[in-house]
Symmetry: C2
Subunit: 344 residues, 2 copies
Amino acid sequence: MSSTSKIGRVGRRMALVLSALGLLTVAAQAQTDPLPSWNDGAAKRVIVAFVTDTTTAGRPGFVPHAERIATFDQDGTLWVEKPMYSQILYCLDRVPAVVKARPELANVEPFKTVMSGDREAIARLPLEDIEKILLATLSGMPVDEFVAEATKWLDTAKDPRWKRPYTDLTYLPMQELLRYLRANGYKTYIATGGGQDFVRVYAERVYGIPPEQVVGSAGATKYGYGKDGKPFLTKEPKLLLNDNDAGKPEGIHLMIGRRPVAAFGNSTGDREMLEYAWAGGGPRLSMLVLHDDAAREYAYGPAQGLPESRVGTFTQALHDEAGKNGWTVISMKNDWKRIFSFEP
Amino acid sequence: MSSTSKIGRVGRRMALVLSALGLLTVAAQAQTDPLPSWNDGAAKRVIVAFVTDTTTAGRPGFVPHAERIATFDQDGTLWVEKPMYSQILYCLDRVPAVVKARPELANVEPFKTVMSGDREAIARLPLEDIEKILLATLSGMPVDEFVAEATKWLDTAKDPRWKRPYTDLTYLPMQELLRYLRANGYKTYIATGGGQDFVRVYAERVYGIPPEQVVGSAGATKYGYGKDGKPFLTKEPKLLLNDNDAGKPEGIHLMIGRRPVAAFGNSTGDREMLEYAWAGGGPRLSMLVLHDDAAREYAYGPAQGLPESRVGTFTQALHDEAGKNGWTVISMKNDWKRIFSFEP
């Protein structure tokens, strides 16, 4: 038998097998709901219609594979942001080590208040003081040392309400959405106001999002050489990118260079990112997570009469803009069957 | 027949077919040289050994798929950088339009010299003046307008020596190397001192490198709204990242967040990037392209007695460091069978 006819036979047999597998796959897909933790409602229907429209060849809204970019805020959108962003809790926990290394800070505010352990006073610290704490605790060390410390903290620190590591507190419906988008050729990015280096430590393990797809507030680093002559990078107390508000689309342009087709947030800090994605033409998805489930998670945001909150402010103005633009508001209470993977 | 045994039969048949295909693939690979434009020499051997070591499961130097990051300088490494970086030529060509919009610049240096058309005087402009020209011509317009203008220029401008678009002047051996690395699971990045937005305009078409994998010198953008209420980004005259020298590893950390396993450059501006990749532990590849072929391209760089050059300086110190570290210097003259795809 010539090798050509051998290849021909192999080819024909493979075609048979592949078409049989194809049928099996179609049958399996019809039975498998990609978003099982979502109730059947408007939010779920909008997501499925968007993915179908943008990934089915021949449809007017078809988006080429390379342009399928989806950006997600993190705090309050992918995981719990109450009672405080977990990165701020990390920085507060780091204060004693910083004060030990720089004892002159012990009597200087806001370090004095943090060292006092007075939880209520700490919770009342104004934003400027929080920023001072972030700068002091997130810079001055080699990048590798920072990664090691943040990893250790994430492995041991626990959320006071659920008594679990913070990385357990991601929303199962959003994890399903990330996987569903990726299964349909979307590159999923985090665009967070939190620290880029901090989120990169766990994003791959927790969300399946690699470091190079995490855009966040970012400080400068400085290249230098150790005593052994080996080069390393030191984290500097200089902010390069404040990835909040207008900083989100600006950061997305800097780091990705493409306009997202889909964007997800939960607060006024995400407004410009959602506008930017929405304005791109063709089918777009801009969605906001509304925290309206005090029993299973939290309820906050002045829209719909929910109590105001220091973090994740979902204002009436944002609610109005969402309504006017046709963005979809996800009700945690009504749209999500389950919230956490560890709860039924 | 039960459906389980049907699937079992399909699975067994598929396994047979796949193993037959596997054999065919191995046979095909043995016959196909992934780097046909490279002469058989040390440089080619080093590359093939590195790829084999880092991608063969079970070898001590095996690098997991997600960590396979390779960074390439562009000017002088992936394409011709003489007589001047093509982005500078683009900016010089943009000066008349800028002066038309801002007539007060007509009598101000360095714009006056550029408007005079005196090529020798333009070639002598100091770096500070070039920077002024870059800032004035690369900022102040919406991002979309910049992309349209750069695209138009790249479609029409021609290199004076080869009378071809600049995007034709990429090195065929390096294009083969990019494809070879990608075929083996490497994510290929450009890390250029040139403008990130400029290189992103053509990198996907020319190198198969998408915008999100181009790291370069980057200016700030500013989010705002047009008269129609639609948001857009304007390029600002503020440098966020100078992606040269120490700025290369710093920019790689900012934009990628992983240390490259392989890095490629051709000048002192790439030194820190090559050091950073090299210091990572395990098998590493740090390579420098030496321009020593005046007949087929150019010959410059004081190392090995080549003439000094304003761009792409390959100094004796860099040559010494390469030798000491065990980096491989690629001789364009000896290692490359062909240089351009349009030449035999």
